[in-house]
Symmetry: C3
Subunit: 488 residues, 3 copies
């Protein structure tokens, strides 16, 4: 296309050679004139190419900007995104039938005393988390999150009759508000129904250190001093209907509990303080003459370590929890209305993860509690457990996992109840497939497993509403299974 | 890379200078020849650059086209997208316990007489809407939509026992069908279970003007004349089992209601006409000697204003509704099978929104109904309410919201029932955080609030199945709370 | 912008012409020198343009790579994606009320004998499938899938009381594992709760050939020989509680069934072999003196044809199934615990699709079974059906669909039960809208329909727990409706 104007340019070039006698000189002049015209055309052509490249450059820049925005949407940084936690599998006993299991299977489980979960879970539990994020022109960011969850123990695909599907979270969180300045500059606020953002757990026991959840509102990350950040929140929870003592209006029984939380962070150190109240909960009939608590206090001192207890690479977390009255349920804050006004509980939890050697990972944990006057004046509960998960990475898709779990419990329900003490042990071996080995938090996993579980006979008779001692579930038994676990 | 051919070109340039005596001339010739070669190379180089720019241009164009498509997918214009409505929070009474509340809390609430919702909602209600849009090569567009929803009043996070999770919408809508021409050119058709596309509401009362919903099929936007568009639809609904009069087969009680709708639009004016039928519903035993309706008629005349009642910027909507027989439930079409054959109801609703002054928004609404022979020959119900929501935008993230709500009701259940008349009032103040202030439809909001609610004592004894008069809920009380509300 | 340096270059060009006497020659030299400078500048300009184009080219290449990734996310090839199946509509009888219907409506339906579904479905059934795909740096691909589903027959929008919402699938599947080599190179492994990947159905009867589903684990696509691929899996299912014979511990009744599957593929031929076991199921009290099976075998030989029975373009599938004991429920493997130890069943199923003529599609199917000693020694069940779906594409958005369905059944429950034999017929005509006509698998569809259904009176009295004979549902009747069906 550029040839045509070039030819034209040459054609209209004025032939102005004059006064050179020789034909050669005239020829030279002609060549020079031709060349001048060609150069002018080439200049124009280079300019055009440059302009074209420059124009494409601008288009590309605009396109990149647009791609940035589209990428934000496609990745879920803006708009919709999906998260999940799920586990599903079979847990089969020696008789070829489903067998009871759970990290909360022991008599201490009802008190929060969890044991190792590997090869010990019979259920299909799934959480689907739907998020929607919006960034506003003034910079404010809004997150809407809803979570639906279900847990069943049937192996069937159609579980309408057994379904526990329910909505566990519905909340809004706002951050980067330009109106927020000073101590509030990096604060975010929220309201609705949620799991608290700062809950954390011992994964291998399926137990949170703290499980603060319910409906309410709060503020995160208020900068109280250079190295002091704090969260403040109010969570409400509901107690299901309960029997009340006779002199009180029996209709007056839809009691709520409220949890007032201050959660302080000083570097790696966390100090959480909770006050609890439940108006009229003292009218609850505990059935044993004790008085139910209508208030409580609770505190947790925790350390979030970025090494394996200072001994090597890895991480660790340790926490000491204490509660009184309604605060004596030290994990599920405000979730237990049967606690007496004198109830106390002190719990310790810790875990760490590290590589023992290349390809060999280890994660030990300790979990123990002492609680008195819990559900009846004079009751006394002690439980303590040790759990070790070990993994040997054999290929990039396969590792052998091992778990040894031990729990000691000494449970005394007081004057009106039972007492028992004894030990529980579980050993599990689980050949495990995963997309990429390399850490305790890599999921999904697909595992087959076999476990050997045993406990003292005395524990079988402790409670009639737990699995121990029921249906031939009396310890000293093998179980087998297959399971997947995933989160993202 | 272009240097090499240039050198080559110079190398092969034939040295044809002849006949010039002087060295200078020879030198000149040489320089000219060199230059000619250079120019040729420069031309080639410019051409190459041009070609390269042109090639990039094409790549970029193709990439832009692809980006357009990816952007459509990422934004949900094509494929999956997510919408939601949700509210969640706490409503607490003076005694520190959950307190009853709802826009439908008054005795008139059961008749559809809603009052202001601000600081009056105790529940967690969430709708998750999953859409999937497809555009076909012939231009047809298909929308699949499903909605799951849940509403609970417990504050707990795990609500399997209280769960009301259910699927409220499942439908397909087709538009832009090339086979549709003439009056149908812009029409879309649908079938399935849905909320009608053209329902509209008074947001502050949580009441639709019309709530047409159920399972069926229909067509939207048939162009009957230049300024006349109409929708046609058939919706089915189901009545739950009911007692039938004795002479009729008691098994024969799974009655359905059908709603035949013609919905006309003339500019801002809407005229909706509905016929209703429910075969055998007249065999229902109303328990009071009256005969249940097995058919009904209903009509609504509405105006959708694009100013604040012609007085200033803003918007307003006003509607007059009248129904007889099954049509006497004038909002939830076909949802009430207990209406008598002589039931009549006439309702008026209107609201508007505007700025009173910079930073001061106001939204007043009026909602009133008169209904006779509704559930029993001789009954007579009147209710009328006024609600005003006021907002004062203080920063770009914060506003104070105020609501005053008043309702008068005069309810007479006729010979076999109760009667009561009286007033209800509610005043609410709600400090509110939001990503960006600027309008009544901006969400999400995070609000704390306190309300003072009062009503005439006579209303406490009117009905035993409403909250008024129960559990010390007798008026003249304060309530407090925190709540989020969101939609997108 | 490039002009300025050019002018400067020309300005600084040294004027070195010397020794030419004539002004012309001097002028020529001057012009040549000017030109040399211009050429140098033009060369630089061309180089700059080239460099610029090249730089843009690189940017564009990087941008394309990024767009590839974003496109993978936006399309759901990576990250979240959404699939659905749904149907929703009304099925109304001559009396203007909902009427019973279902492909499983006949007395043979309880045995798996499905009839044509067109104009025969009264429900709203929806599956929402949430997928999340991840590709890892080592090439492994992981798929997480969860499905929630609901089916109700009410026409109302709020169905909390009738809700059957439940989680039908929760599983992880891993493929492209670099650790897998040899026969396992293309294998994928899975665990969790799922519908087996290789289930297939006769769409027009809403019946799978095989419906293998439950909780377990397995491996797909093991290459056993050049033309032999196989899947291996273990699925568990749960039997709901049942009465046990008296001498056995009545608590011991949470029996499971396990299905061990080997599924072989040789080109178009599929040979599936299943072993079933259910420990202690023989303690079930069948109530008729027969002994329930605690094991079973099952096999299916199938052909997946890529023509219309070799007669023309289209496809066909044919399968012969046989099972004994627990395997006598030949479709829903392991789902029926009431089968006797002597139960046998043999089933044949086949269908094909083709174009009879341009715009005329046909899909015939045959479905038949004989089963003996099924739920009681001496019972004997025979059923056989023929169904033909015909479609006439009239415009690109509209087709007429026709269905004729016939079923013969001869059912004998043995000594302690009923017996009946007779015929069922259904004729349906369904004007159907869709985005683009062109095949039996194109969805969504929006259809209205009318059906005429009839059956032999003898079938009305066969069973008290089916719809036949109830509420005036006695055959020889018309029904009408509207429905949408969609999948993607």
């Amino acid at each position: 296309m550029l040839r045509t104007p070039l030819v034209a340019a040459v054609a209209v070039a004025s032939f102005t050679m004059s006064g050179l006698a020789s034909a050669q000189q005239s020829d030279l002049e002609q060549r020079l004139a031709d060349l001048e015209a060609r150069v002018a055309a080439a200049e124009a052509r280079a300019d055009a190419a440059e302009a074209r490249a420059s124009s494409v450059e601008e288009t590309v820049e605009a396109s990149e900007t647009r791609l940035d925005e589209v990428a934000r949407q496609a990745s879920g940084e803006e708009g919709f995104s999906f998260n999940a936690y799920a586990r599903s599998g079979l847990l089969i006993g020696e008789d070829g039938k489903s067998i009871s299991g759970s990290p909360y299977i022991t008599p201490a489980g009802g008190l929060g005393g969890a044991v190792g979960r590997l090869g010990n879970e019979p259920d299909t539990y799934a959480e689907a988390i739907l998020n929607y994020r919006q960034t506003y022109s003034n910079g404010t960011k809004a997150l809407y999150r809803t979570m639906i969850a279900d847990g069943v123990s049937t192996s069937n695909d159609w579980t309408a009759d057994e379904s526990n599907l329910n909505v566990r979270q519905v909340y809004v969180e706002l951050s980067d508000l330009p109106s927020f300045t000073g101590a509030f500059e990096n604060a975010s606020i929220w309201a609705g129904k949620r799991f608290d953002r700062d809950n954390f757990d011992i994964h291998w026991l399926d137990s949170d250190f703290i499980f603060l959840a319910g409906t309410g509102g709060g503020i995160y990350d208020v900068q109280l001093a250079d190295s002091w950040k704090a969260n403040f929140s109010l969570y409400g929870r509901s107690y299901t209907d309960f029997d009340v003592v006779s002199e009180v209006d029996p209709n007056d029984n839809d009691t709520d509990s409220f949890i007032y939380t201050v959660n302080n962070y000083f570097g790696n150190v966390q100090w959480m303080i909770n006050g609890l109240s439940a108006a009229d909960n003292d009218t609850r009939d505990l059935g044993n003459g004790s008085t139910a608590a209508d208030s409580g206090i609770h505190t947790m001192l925790a350390y979030h370590g970025d090494s394996f207890f200072g001994l090597g690479e890895g991480n660790f977390k340790a926490a000491l929890l204490h509660g009184q009255g309604l605060g004596a349920e030290v994990k599920g804050l405000g979730s237990d209305g049967d606690l007496t006004e004198d109830a106390t509980a002190t719990r310790i939890g810790l875990y760490g993860t590290t590589y023992l050697a290349p390809k060999w990972r280890i994660a030990p944990s300790v979990f123990a509690e002492t609680s008195q006057d819990r559900y009846d004046e004079g009751d006394d509960y002690q439980w303590a457990g040790l759990n070790v998960r070990l993994a040997n990475e054999l290929t990039e898709n396969f590792e052998m996992q091992y778990e040894a779990s031990y729990q000691y419990m000494d449970l005394d329900q007081g004057a009106s109840g039972n007492a028992a003490d004894g030990n529980y042990t579980k050993y599990t071996i689980a050949p495990t497939f995963k997309p990429q080995v390399g850490g305790f938090w890599q999921r999904p996993e697909i595992r087959v497993f076999t476990s050997y579980t045993d406990w003292d006979d005395e524990l079988n008779d402790y409670a009639s509403d737990d699995a121990f001692g029921e249906d031939g579930f009396t310890g000293g038994q093998w179980s087998f299974g297959v399971q997947t676990e995933v989160w993202f």
